[in-house]
Amino acid sequence: MKKILVIDDEQYLTSVLYSILEKTGLYEVFIANDGQEGIDLIKKYNFDLIFLDYIMPKVRGDKVLQFVREHSDHKHIKVIIMSGLIDILSNDVVHSKQCEEAANDVSEDRAGTPSPNIFPIHLIEQYGIQGVLEKPFARGKLLSLTQTIFEQEKNGKKKDFNT
């Protein structure tokens, strides 16, 4: 059985994602509500797929990405990014300067409010991300994307992702 790790600071979300994924009976699901917690789990277990929320307080998604990709042990792990803020310009995939700036904008937070970060598309290339899910997404989408990624792996192809 494939091991899936869901990392998101929203407890309710991880809870419902756990529920949905577990119910398929296909996957063993682990949850982390914190980037660091996620990293600890990655160290501990051998995951096949990580659902990663990009914008999290304390340790942002890309830190986790870094960790995953920089360690040869975990390089192979598939990643699906979940984000509320993805650079969106209809059908244009654009390298947005603004997004980059926003992405680098970490420090000016108001207390308690998550920093307004936006997932920059170019990270897909950079970190070899298999999929991107824009919140809110439907259950169906979630499940089909997961299935597709595992099938691709099985087929040995790396398909371009679909959001």
């Binding site: 309710y12 300067k97 998550p114």
Partner: protein, 731 residues
């Protein structure tokens, strides 16, 4: 010349007035003295004459006594037979008296001897006047009468009588009397001897003429002088020897009169006669008058000579002053180089010297004044701001070049014109001018000037009131700065500020959105997924359940759309801008709404000729979104039956070229209080579910990203016009 004339005139006038007055005074004085003198003289003469008469009569008085004491006559009377030798009596008559008749009368009253033979033998009583004398003498008195007309001779005479006494007899009885008629002409002869210019009248105690000059023609004992003032006066005094002298006018002739009363002499006491001496003043003063005439002539001559002398002296004295005057006259403000000659060391010289000094000072002052005036003139001339000076009644007095340039007038055209031709604030000119004057000044008052063409130019006006020494207002000085540029700049600034505020709103929203979006998306995701998860626990076939889940899903999506739209306009980027043809953008936009418009009977008018070929730097789709949005809004506003007019033209401003596009609809219009908010995000007047209200804010942001400006103008009932200004792409 005037001074010299004045000088001469003064001298002459003084001479002409003073000298005659003096002379006259002297003359009068002299005359008065002379008069005194003459009067006194006259009086003395009269007195002397009177005295002489008295003496003569006294001698007669004595003589009669002597005759009375003649032995001859004594003997005659005693011895009646003694025959008198007539010659002897005649002798006596001549040697004494003088008598013109002598009587020897005995004590019977018979004339026993006489110088007139005819009388011998007659009774003395036949001559009543002589009779009185006789009786008096017979009493032993020596008698003399007043002047009378003799009974015997019919001539005026004085009867003297003396008693003839018998000396042999110790009792000395009166034997008879000697009666003699005084030869009056002797006296009158005396009177004749007075100078012919003097009238002499001998008057008796009643003021009757008894003797005088033969020529006078007066009749003795007939003419009366009793009414004569002088006579009356003196007679009133009744004092013997009293006299008075005076000036009188007798029969219109001024005379000097003297009147002396008989004083008698020794035993002769007279009869209270008076001697009136009169001299015509003309005669009396003749010498004085003559002298006066002579003096006048001499004085006149002297004055003429003096006048001549003074004239020349005057001229001489005046000459330096004249020269100075000439020099002074040559001085004008224009020519201050003249100097007076200083010839003399006297006051005139000093004056000339002082004058020269003054001219020098004046020269210096003049230069200073000119310099100062040039300085201020230059200031006024080179002033950038306009200067207009008006008098308190509002008439324009002076204008500087800047004002003429600004207003388009010439100096002549504005001189003396009423300020209303230039100042536009009616209130300002009538009321405010007075207020302004009262307060003494005005600072930075925003108003407008009117040019010759009637154009209004906004100005910033400052003014001050100028007063003279007495504090009266002389003029009002108005300095006005053309603030057209400033106002333009202010308006532009306002526009930019508005834009900025709008942008701020946008970016605030934008910035806010990033955080908010995240906070919304997560819950949305949870709702979505949890709901779907729930489905597992609910009966599969229940339609209601299926519907509910569908509604939840769709709502989540809807919410997500809002977030997406919100995020969209934060993320427009100029990186994807190319050169695009604006008229193509509008063409396609119009085409897309054509159907929708036609259905609602709305005409869309668009002619892209004016901007044919004009290119902008921007995003085609983005701009299309803009026009679609605006057109759609217009159609929605009109609803049915209306017109949308799109115009586009080139505008040149500050060297850059812009395209100005206007989209006007015939809708109901937007009220003013809403107009300022239409570009605000989420501002919509549509019902919920009908549009997110993000359309216009999106439009605004897109235009802003294209470095353009969008504004809305609207009038209730007339419609709305959106104005878009976009910069043309560089070459």
């Amino acid at each position: 010349m005037k001074f010299s004339v004045r000088l001469i005139l003064s001298v002459v006038v003084v001479a002409v007035i003073v000298v005659p007055i003096l002379s006259f005074g002297v003359f009068l004085n002299g005359r008065s003295i002379l008069q005194e003198h003459i009067l006194n003289d006259q009086l003395e003469s009269a007195t002397y004459l009177m005295d002489r008469i008295d003496r003569i009569l006294f001698r007669a008085y004595q003589d009669i006594q002597v005759i009375g004491e003649e032995d001859l006559f004594e003997e005659l009377l005693e011895e009646e037979k003694f025959v008198m030798n007539e010659k002897m009596i005649d002798e006596k008559a001549l040697l004494t008296g003088p008598w013109n008749i002598i009587f020897i009368v005995d004590n019977d009253g018979i004339i026993i001897a006489s110088t007139d033979e005819k009388e011998i033998g007659r009774h003395i009583a036949e001559a009543p006047k002589s009779n009185i004398a006789y009786h008096s003498a017979m009493m032993g008195e020596v008698y003399y009468s007043d002047l009378i007309i003799s009974d015997n001779t019919s001539w005026p005479t004085i009867i003297f009588a003396a008693p003839i006494r018998g000396e042999k007899n110790p009792e000395r009885p009166v034997l008879g009397a000697v009666i003699a008629n005084f030869d009056w002409p002797v006296v009158t002869q005396l009177l004749d001897n007075i100078s012919p210019s003097t009238h002499v009248h001998l008057l008796n105690k009643d003021g009757i003429f008894i003797g005088g000059r033969a020529i006078s023609g007066m009749r003795i004992l007939e003419t009366s002088f009793a009414e004569d003032e002088l006579v009356k006066k003196v007679l009133a005094e009744k004092v013997m020897g009293a006299s008075a002298a005076t000036t009188m006018i007798e029969e219109d002739i001024p005379i000097l009169a003297a009147y002396v009363l008989q004083n008698g002499y020794l035993t002769y006491r007279g009869c209270g006669w008076g001697l009136l001496m009169e001299t015509s003043q003309k005669v009396a003063f003749a010498p004085v008058n003559k002298m006066a005439v002579n003096i006048s002539i001499i004085v006149t001559l002297i004055m003429a000579v003096l006048t001549g002398i003074f004239y020349f002296i005057g001229k001489l004295l005046i000459k330096p002053v004249e020269n100075l005057n000439k020099t002074v006259n040559m001085i004008g403000f224009e020519d201050l180089s003249v100097r007076a000659e200083v010839k003399t060391k006297d006051e005139i010289g000093e004056l000339a010297h002082s004058f020269n000094q003054m001219v020098v000072d004046l020269s210096i002052s003049k230069e200073e004044i000119i310099a100062a005036k040039d300085y201020t003139d230059n200031i006024i001339k080179s002033m950038v701001d306009t200067l207009i000076v008006v008098d308190p009644e509002g008439k324009i007095k002076k204008v500087n070049q800047s004002a003429l340039d600004l207003l388009g007038y010439t100096e002549e055209e504005l001189a003396e014109r009423d300020m209303n031709s230039v100042f536009t604030d009616e209130v300002f000119t009538k009321t405010k001018l007075r207020e302004f004057i009262k307060e003494g000044g005005l600072k930075d008052y925003e108003t407008a000037y009117k040019t010759k063409d009637g154009k209004k130019i906004p100005v910033l006006l400052s003014g001050a009131v100028m007063r003279d020494k007495a504090g009266n207002i002389v003029s009002v000085v108005c300095v006005a700065k053309d603030i057209t540029e400033r106002i333009k700049a202010e308006e532009e600034l306002k526009t930019i500020q508005n834009q900025l505020i709008q942008s701020e709103k946008m970016s605030a929203i934008g910035r806010l959105s990033a955080g908010v979006a995240h906070e919304i998306k997560n819950p949305l995701a949870i709702i979505q997924l949890s709901t779907e998860d729930l489905e597992e626990y609910l009966p599969q076939k229940d339609e209601k359940i299926k519907k509910s889940i569908l509604m939840i899903t769709e709502s989540c999506q809807r919410a997500n759309n809002v977030i997406t739209d919100l995020l969209n306009f934060s993320h427009i980027t100029e990186m994807d801008f190319h050169k695009i043809k604006l008229n193509e953008v509008i063409d396609t936009s119009v085409a897309l709404v054509q159907n929708s418009a036609r259905i609602n009977n709305i005409t869309v008018e668009w002619n892209g000729q004016d901007i044919e070929g004009i290119e902008l730097e921007g995003g085609f789709n983005l701009l299309q979104q803009v026009f679609l949005n605006l057109l759609t809004n217009a159609i929605d506003a009109i609803k049915e039956n209306g017109k949308i007019t799109i115009t586009a033209e080139l505008e040149k401003a500050y060297g850059d070229k812009n395209v100005v596009v206007k989209i006007a609809d015939t809708g109901p219009g937007i009220p003013e209080n809403r107009l300022s908010r239409i570009f605000d995000p989420f501002y919509t007047t549509k019902e919920p579910g009908n549009g997110t209200g993000l359309g216009l804010s999106m439009v605004y942001t897109i235009i802003d990203k294209h470095k353009g400006i969008i504004e809305a103008e609207s009038r209730i009932g007339k419609g709305t016009t959106f104005i878009i200004i976009l910069p043309v792409a560089g070459p």
